[in-house]
Amino acid sequence: MLRFQNRRLTIVGFLGPAVVSLLLVGIAPLVFAVYTSFHRYQLTNLRKIPFIGFDNYLFVLTDEVFWQAMGRTFTLLLISLPIQLALGMGIALLLHKPGLGYLRTLTRLGLVIPMATTYAVVGLLGQVMFNIKYGVVNQLIGFLGVPPVNWLGDPSNAFAAVVFWDIWQWTPFCALVLLAGLTTVPGEVEEAAKLETKNWWKVLRHVQLPFLIPGLTALFILRTADTLKLFDMVFTMTRGGPGSSTELISLLIQRVGFRAFDQGLASAQAIILLILTIVLSMLYIRFFYKEVAQ
């Protein structure tokens, strides 16, 4: 290891600025949010900010609207994640086949497009493509003989549109992560297994799967975190509507904080979301990571 005089000073000098700035922009607001959450803090009436203890928290924890938004968020996760993983696995296995040549490169580049598309723009595209009258989606399904669907005006159809874009945007990501996992399988092992059986499922289950666990773990953690964070695409496409059918948790907090101006309540919601995120991450790490860590 390197030895300098003033070793401690060196380390502080290199790390200090980053730590301090992240404390200021990342932690200080959280501390303030905790403070706000214990008060009746309304933007329309800032002269009186009475301390109200856990009232905001008690309200949130028994608030149907909050739990419905949470429920919708996890419904989205539970519907789209399995589809993303299944489709992603299929694409990864397809791309893993030898001899694809430039077609593999082309597909890999194509897969980048959905991931790179600005989340807000995906929502705007949703408005344009899923429009009941002028939208291309209804035209395309019309070719198959399906009558026009009122995508964004109907609660469950609007939710389906959100699911669709989530799948469109993140299946490529799952595919590329899983493909990276497949390439870590030693060539001889895979060859031997393929000589043994023609059944691709058996090869996947017994030979390739162990090498996919780290990638799958990452996908579980990230897709959960990202679904809890999801805002831009849904906001630009449906604003949480019609009714509150697509109001995910971040949209609810945004509405309460910035359109109903109840900052105290919104802060309590945000803190509960944060705690939930931390607990989920720790659970994931406990259940999956222990096996991964060598």
Partner: protein, 279 residues
């Protein structure tokens, strides 16, 4: 691997596989294609039911949004914010990454973990209190505020990618420099940073993309003067007669630079996006 490749090339590719791959590409690219073509339609053409696939393209939407609708100004705001927050993240993040890669000290793992797990926190959790703090300072609608809050996701990504990169720079170089009497700052600046340039560049691309794409903070913290392009695009969605062509022209202007950058960094894209979940 090579043997498998050679054998595959001898065998003709099954037609089914080719069809599937083309279908996947089509699925990925179609919305992008539809965005670009819609941006080239006049409002009348855009509002034909059912949609038309062939038409005479026009750039009028682009000239309108860029010069009459202040999208041009919002793109410049986006550029200012993304460039400066990226520069700041590199300035703060690369020394930190270097220290994490090179020095041993107590709590190093925890510190690294704290940096990285910022990725998990929902931005709405920060947006609310940050808004109140900024408001009390009377600094809403300024570039500097977005530049600072974007550090919450840019700094972790820079540290994440650059720590790896610094680890791959041979330590012998540092040690030789120490024997020559060079101080740590000199070693970092003159020797390691240039050698870590590829990682630094990739993290800069990510930082730029994330900032350029960001909507929620921009929506909450800006009004007019510092409004970024995504926040501007959302503004078009109000009212009944949606200007499809203009919305898609603005969208295209936002997405094109991101797609170019993402294609440049496509090899590292997955690595960058898995931050916080793999070692």
């Amino acid at each position: 691997m090579t043997r498998a490749d050679a054998r595959g090339r001898r065998r003709a590719l099954p037609l089914g596989d080719i069809a599937l791959l083309l279908l996947i590409i089509l699925f990925c690219v179609f919305p992008f294609y539809w965005m670009v073509t819609t941006s080239l339609k006049t409002q009348v053409v855009a509002l034909s039911a059912p949609p038309v696939w062939t038409f005479e393209p026009t750039f009028s939407n682009y000239t309108t949004v860029l010069f009459d609708e202040k999208v041009g100004a919002s793109l410049i705001n986006s550029l200012i914010v993304a460039v400066f927050t990226t520069a700041l993240a590199l300035l703060l993040g690369t020394p930190a990454a270097y220290a994490l890669a090179r020095f041993e000290f107590k709590g190093k793992r925890d510190l690294w973990f704290w940096f990285i797990t910022n990725r998990m926190v929902s931005p709405i959790v920060l947006a609310l209190p940050f808004f109140l703090i900024v408001r009390s300072f009377g600094m809403l609608d300024t570039h500097i505020i977005l530049i600072l809050i974007y550090l919450t996701f840019n700094l972790p990504i820079v540290i994440w990618i650059c720590t790896d990169q610094f680890r791959s720079v041979p330590k012998d170089l540092d040690e030789a420099a120490v024997l020559d009497g060079a101080g740590p700052l000199r070693i970092f600046w003159k020797i390691c940073l240039p050698l870590a340039a590829p990682g630094v560049a990739v993290s800069a691309i990510f930082s730029f993309i994330f900032s350029w794409n960001e909507l929620m903070f921009a929506l909450v913290l800006t009004r007019t003067a510092a409004k970024t392009a995504p926040a501007m695009a959302v503004g078009f969605m109000e009212g009944y007669n949606l200007p499809y062509g203009k919305i898609m022209a603005t969208s295209t202007l936002i997405v094109i630079p991101v797609v170019i950058f993402a294609l440049i960094a496509s090899k590292q894209l997955v690595r960058g996006l898995t931050m916080g979940a793999v070692k």
